[in-house]
């Protein structure tokens, strides 16, 4: 217990002092997690069809019967986070009153955004608005109203709610770890429920599950993602699509991610994230300037206004009276997906947010990324809608046929498409790298018992294992099955999120309450009081003044 509690030093000093062969790990969590991962990969490859069916049925059942729970959860979390933003706890600093941020604000933002949802935005920034434009559950498809509602639904799925979920988990872990001295680990979130038992097997099991879920989440995304990158490269260069090319791509991404994670947060992950955001900004700027600039600028204001006006209505819509199942495939899937990813992203955000006040944290993790996301979605989504509604069209068809290719189809509508498509490939690849390295870093921290600066050897191990798992599942099959399994973890974690709200509020209330200064028992000999006149007004002032 002491060992795990002692690993609270945030910053680079410890990192510098440890050599390559230093291996400070939590043995149970590290080895059992590694063994389980190997077991699941082998089982999934051997019994691919059977395992896939089971997970798919489970996910369908969850969507059918627990959709309302997800909708309640995400809304409660959002309201809770907004209350924290405006409330009296806003000035509490993560790490104590004298803590100062470890990273600059742009570096901090680049890291949390890259880990949070960067890659998804690249694929769905074009695709999702088009999907809702041609098949809208709320209005007649293909109309002006469908375009407006398509952007609104996309904003709902990528806007305040997911970032509120990440904020909730990140804030909870950061507060209990940095301000209450608990280990920086997923088990920490359960402290208000389990107390000191989190240091025993109950906590070990939680951390093992988090490690396995995070690794499979990142590895399956990597495995599925390289298929998309391959599709993009094939579309651009005609190199074909094959498992060999995809394994090579995994190897390249894993190599860069491994380098990044070994270099550490400041020299590796932060720098890569900043480069990444720089490239993405360049791409977005290009599309905005050469595309329908006025339409995009008009749409940005209208989309945000429409989103704010309809947020209470859309975010509590549950298809009750329509009695349809559209939400299961979209909104409920998204909520489940974000919640399943929240331990990983939340933990990473917590790690890089030392020294921020709660108000800064929420502004940085909830509002700024949401605004950037809206800007991105408007640039790409509305440009696609403009082409579809007023231009040559063809984007909707390409989205239906192949989601990743839709981005390149969009770029073909503008000059220098070879350059911009190449830039898009670079951005996609670097987003994969930043997801991969931050995922590895999170696993490293968990398996080293909450050490914010985990040993280099452990970083190397998990970064490589991530690539090996992705490549094995790609070649052997089972990527979708294990990704589905990861998403299923969203259901139990939705309940955990609700518990976290309660626990965090209680923890913050106790922390913010004034601590009384007291003097203990002492001798009680009584003295009679004698009255004396006050000192002369000028006594003792000569030297000072």
């Amino acid at each position: 217990m002491t060992e795990i509690r002692d690993k609270q030093q945030v910053g680079g000093e410890q990192e510098k002092e440890q050599g390559w062969f230093h291996l400070d790990i939590h043995p149970q969590v590290f080895f059992i997690s590694a063994a389980l991962i190997v077991f699941f990969v082998v089982t999934t490859i051997v019994f691919q069809q059977y395992v896939g069916d089971i997970f798919e049925q489970m996910q369908n059942a969850i969507s059918d019967y627990a959709g309302w729970l997800f909708i309640w959860t995400v809304n409660i979390v959002l309201v809770f986070i907004l209350v924290l933003l405006a409330g009296r706890f806003g000035d509490i600093r993560l790490g104590g009153p004298d803590a100062r941020p470890e990273f600059s604000t742009p570096g901090w933002f680049a890291m949390l955004f890259s880990a949070g949802m960067g890659i998804g935005l690249l694929f769905y920034g074009v695709a999702e608005p088009m999907f809702h434009y041609v098949a809208n559950p709320l209005t007649e498809p293909g109309t002006t109203e469908a375009a407006r509602k398509a952007m609104d639904i996309t904003f709902l799925h990528w806007g305040l709610h997911p970032w509120a979920i990440y904020s909730m988990v990140g804030l909870s872990l950061a507060f209990f770890s940095f301000n209450r001295g608990l280990p920086l680990s997923i088990r920490t979130a359960f402290y208000p429920l389990f107390g000191d038992r989190i240091y025993g097997w109950a906590g070990n099991i939680i951390d093992i599950l988090a490690t396995v879920a995070t690794l499979f989440g990142v590895a399956t995304s990597l495995g599925l993602g390289v298929q998309q990158v391959n599709a993009g490269l094939d579309y651009l260069l005609g190199i074909g699509q094959s498992p060999t090319i995809q394994v090579i791509l995994i190897g390249c991404i894993t190599a860069v991610a491994t380098w990044s994670v070994i270099k550490g947060l400041d020299k590796g992950i932060r720098r890569l994230s900043e480069i990444n955001i720089g490239f993405a900004a360049l791409l977005a700027l290009f599309v905005m300037l050469v595309g329908p600039t006025l339409f995009v600028m008009d749409a940005l204001l209208e989309n945000i206004g429409y989103y704010i006006q309809h947020l209470p209505q859309l975010s509590t819509w549950n298809e009750t009276y329509e009695h349809t199942q559209w939400q299961q495939g979209w909104t409920i899937f998204y909520w489940s997906w974000w919640i399943a990813w929240s331990p990983f992203v939340g933990m990473f955000i917590a790690r890089v947010s030392y020294g921020r006040s709660i108000r800064q944290f929420i502004l940085g993790v909830l509002l700024v990324p949401t605004m950037v996301t809206f800007l991105w979605l408007t640039i790409f989504g509305n440009t696609a809608l403009f082409i579809e509604m007023f231009g040559a069209g063809g984007i909707a068809r390409s989205v239906q046929e192949n989601i990743p290719v839709s981005l390149f189809v969009l770029l073909e509508n503008f000059p220098l498409s070879v350059v911009t498509s190449s830039l898009a490939i670079i951005v996609i690849t670097t987003f994969f790298v930043t997801s991969s390295d931050s995922g590895s870093m999170v696993i490293d921290i968990i398996t080293s018992g909450g050490n914010p600066n985990p040993p280099v050897l452990s970083r190397l191990f998990w970064a490589i294992l991530e690539g090996v798992v992705a490549a094995s599942l790609l070649v052997g099959g089972g990527l979708v099955a294990l990704q589905t399994a990861t998403i299923i973890t969203g259901l139990p974690f939705a309940l955990v999120l609700l518990g976290m709200c309660l626990a965090l509020y209680r923890g913050l209330s106790e922390y913010a309450a004034p601590s009384e200064i007291t003097v203990g028992a002492r001798e009680t000999r009584q003295f009679k009081i004698k009255t004396k006149p006050p000192l002369d007004k000028t006594f003792g002032r000569r030297r000072l003044w």
């Binding site: 004034p514 200064i517 009081i529 030297r543 000072l544």
Partner: protein, 226 residues
């Protein structure tokens, strides 16, 4: 907020007494600054005194009596004195268990003029009224005295019994100064003006010596600043 400050510091602000045989005489206020039993006060209150004692506030449910005939004081030792800055660091002369939050000392540099502050002391102790009172004020100015002491001026009239009390920043609940007394403009007047002044100029401004000067005394005692 004022309520929270009072709750936090009511146990820290103590009455300071001088022992005279089997009796004690009130001398002002002192306050706890470190859990190892260290207190701060104004140096001029204790100059020439060896037998010092402190009396914590008595907890009374509801309304407290204003007069006491006897007290049960804790003996004090003088550990450090800085007469230039008018500060003294005292220590309990017996083992007393003290519970304090992790951080109590503020950063005077960051306290802006106009900031709300409060002080807790025993303003009427010299008049046999031993009631702890909290008073709210605003920082009216931040000045350097002739000997380069950093001083907070705040807009309330401090009574003699509150000298040596803590000045607390209401924004973050940290101590930023040690109350020294009422501000007298003649202290800063040129000599020729001071001599020609017929009577002391009355103000409702008081002053407190910045806590960073006390930090130096604590460092001499190898105390970690909290």
């Amino acid at each position: 907020m004022l309520q929270n400050i009072y709750f936090q510091y009511k146990g820290a602000a103590m009455m300071l007494f001088k022992k005279e045989g089997e009796q004690v005489a009130f001398r002002g206020t002192a306050f706890l600054i470190h859990p190892r039993g260290y207190l701060l006060t104004a140096a001029h209150l204790i100059i020439g005194i060896t037998d010092l004692m402190a009396v914590p506030m008595e907890e009374h449910p509801g309304f407290a009596p204003v007069r006491e005939e006897t007290v049960a004081p804790i003996p004090l030792e003088i550990r450090q004195i800085d007469r230039e800055r008018d500060l003294a660091l005292l220590k309990f002369g017996q083992e007393v268990e003290v519970s304090m939050p992790d951080h109590v000392m503020g950063i005077p540099e960051e306290v802006p003029i106009g900031n709300s502050v409060a002080c807790l002391g025993y303003p009427f102790g010299y008049y046999h009224i031993y009631t702890q009172l909290i008073k709210q004020a605003a920082v009216a100015g931040k000045i350097l005295s002739k000997n380069q002491t950093r001083i907070f001026l705040f807009d309330t009239l401090i009574h003699d019994g509150s000298i040596g009390a803590p000045l607390v920043n209401l924004y973050d609940g940290r101590i930023i100064g040690v109350v020294g007394g009422r501000f007298l403009p003649q202290d800063l007047m040129p000599e020729h003006l001071r001599q020609s002044a017929e009577a002391p100029i009355k103000t409702d401004i008081s002053y407190a010596v910045s806590i960073e000067h006390a930090a130096r005394l604590m460092e001499k005692e190898t105390l970690a600043l909290i």
